[in-house]
């Protein structure tokens, strides 16, 4: 290790003050953030755990949280969303918020899953999704989407 380091540690480094000054310097960054209007606006408790870092996912979480109590334990459910990515994320969130339900995806990582989601008893539509002709009826509405129940096959 002769090629590394100094022959003697710099004397002032043995003092605690350089570390404390450096800590104060680092603290300037969060202080600056929370002092700004954007920081102060965040001081209120959010209504979803992720809305401040991913507002779209936050809205999806709120919708699923709202409709979850209406879906009976043991029932199959799926989610539908406008894009593959949004649908996958909504499915992931739904699996956590409905641990007593049976999740069946309409698509999984962007790959359509015919015969799974299309057979689910309950459908959560995130945002604007067209479900015309799919034999569903609206059970609940929210500003972030719909909860629908599939009519039994004749």
């Amino acid at each position: 290790m002769r090629w590394l380091g100094r022959s003697e540690t710099v004397a002032w480094l043995r003092q605690p003050w350089p570390w404390l000054v450096a800590a104060a310097l680092l603290l300037a960054f969060p202080i600056r953030f929370w002092a700004k209007p954007v920081g102060r606006a965040m001081l209120a408790v959010p209504s979803s755990p992720v809305e401040r870092v991913n507002p779209e996912l936050g809205r999806t979480w709120r919708l699923l949280r709202e409709v979850a109590p209406r879906i009976p334990a043991g029932a199959t459910f799926t989610v539908r969303a406008a894009t593959d990515e949004a649908e996958m994320e909504a499915f992931m969130v739904a699996v956590g918020l409905l641990p007593h339900g049976r999740p069946v995806p309409s698509s999984y990582y962007g790959v359509p899953q015919p015969g799974f989601g299309s057979e689910a008893e309950w459908v959560v539509a995130v945002g604007e999704v067209s479900l015309a002709g799919e034999g569903t009826e609206v059970v609940a509405r929210s500003k972030d989407g719909l909860l629908l129940r599939r009519r039994p096959h004749p």
Binding site: E8, T9, W19, L26, L27, F29, P30, V53, G96, P103
Partner: protein, 448 residues
Amino acid sequence: MSAILFLVAHLLVPAFGAAAAWHPSLRRAPLALRGSAAFLGGAVLLTLEGMLWSLLGVRWTVASLGLPAIALSAGLAWAWARRPAVAWRREACRPAVAAAGLTAVAAGLLQLLLAAVSGRAASVDLVLFWGVKATHWVAAGGLEAATLAHAFAIHTHPSYPPLFPTVLAWGTLVAGELPWLAVPVTSVLWVAATVPVVLHMLELRVGREHAVAVTGFWTVAVAAALVAGCCAGNAEPALVAYTTTALVAALVVANRRLGLVAVVAAMGAVLTKNEGGIAVGLTVVGLLLADLFGRRSRPLRGALPLLAGAAVGLSGWLGARLALGLPLTDPIRERAFALSFDHLGTILAAAPQNLAAGTRGLAWLIPLALLLAVERRRLVELLPALALAVGLLTFLGVYYLHAHGDPSALISWTLPRVTIPALSALILAAGLGAGRLDPPPPDQDRKR
């Protein structure tokens, strides 16, 4: 109400690991350090117990998880309390230094708390899989394979180690439901539990004043990095706690005096995330190199507790997965050794902005600059920390070479948070290297 009960459940975790506080190596240690050892050890015991109950078909309840853990811990504490305790050196600290250091610690924890409560540092992985596993394990009464081993559940990463979701599941059992908004707040507990470990164990080698100052910087830097990496509500804070504790045990007391701390920390690291195994492995490599360059008389001696803890944790989780039919690998992950060196330019370009750690990179640059001023004689003993810091960054670089397509998104998702154990190691290396050279603890032997 469920949020309060959930947080109370976390405060009960030290009861499961209380035996650690009565172990001869820690019984005369400062109370805060004993509390930290109890919390970190309690989470490990809870996880091992949860795995065992799942294998035996015992349903997880507050009583089935809580009572045996407390009984076992009480029995161990009683047995250990009868053995003579190891002395713990304490020394004075100027009030101004103590006040400044503790202010830095408090401010660091406060910034993390604010970011966690407000959701600014929330991890989306909480709602995508960490919390998902906890709710399913509670619903199923144990580690659950029926849903999570299904083909449509690979997004929950069923092969990931179980410690963090087990602790969340424990909180859920006590609270009656998982209070999602409260989960990010628990990240503060993991960092707060690590502060006494860094402070009091570093104190053994560099003295009280220097340890106070380094701990202040460590807390502010790690908290800022956790906020920047949006780690509130994921397993990263717990991983930082265990990898840092394992490293401190290796750096400060590379002997059997604090072997229990090293064993528990290594076990906790590998049971928290797969990266924990890599971190422990790199620490062991650093210890072996330090033994080699430092010509210690008993090589491997310092590494043995870490290896033992990691081996128990890894084999326990492997056995549980085999028995329960959970996947052994993660199908979402990239195929090993399918490297694309075209990514090298993207990786090097993306690294600086993703290592800003909420401080424009100063959290990294300051300890790096201080390390350059350390005498070379001291660098040998810092090798465990340097191996962890450099090795983890190198590992991530190689991992990004595996990316399908442009690795930019993968880098921005993972680099800010997965590197935090390396940041912690770099700070500890600089802190230990810059401190005054105290004689090592009594049973740390070297050939002179």
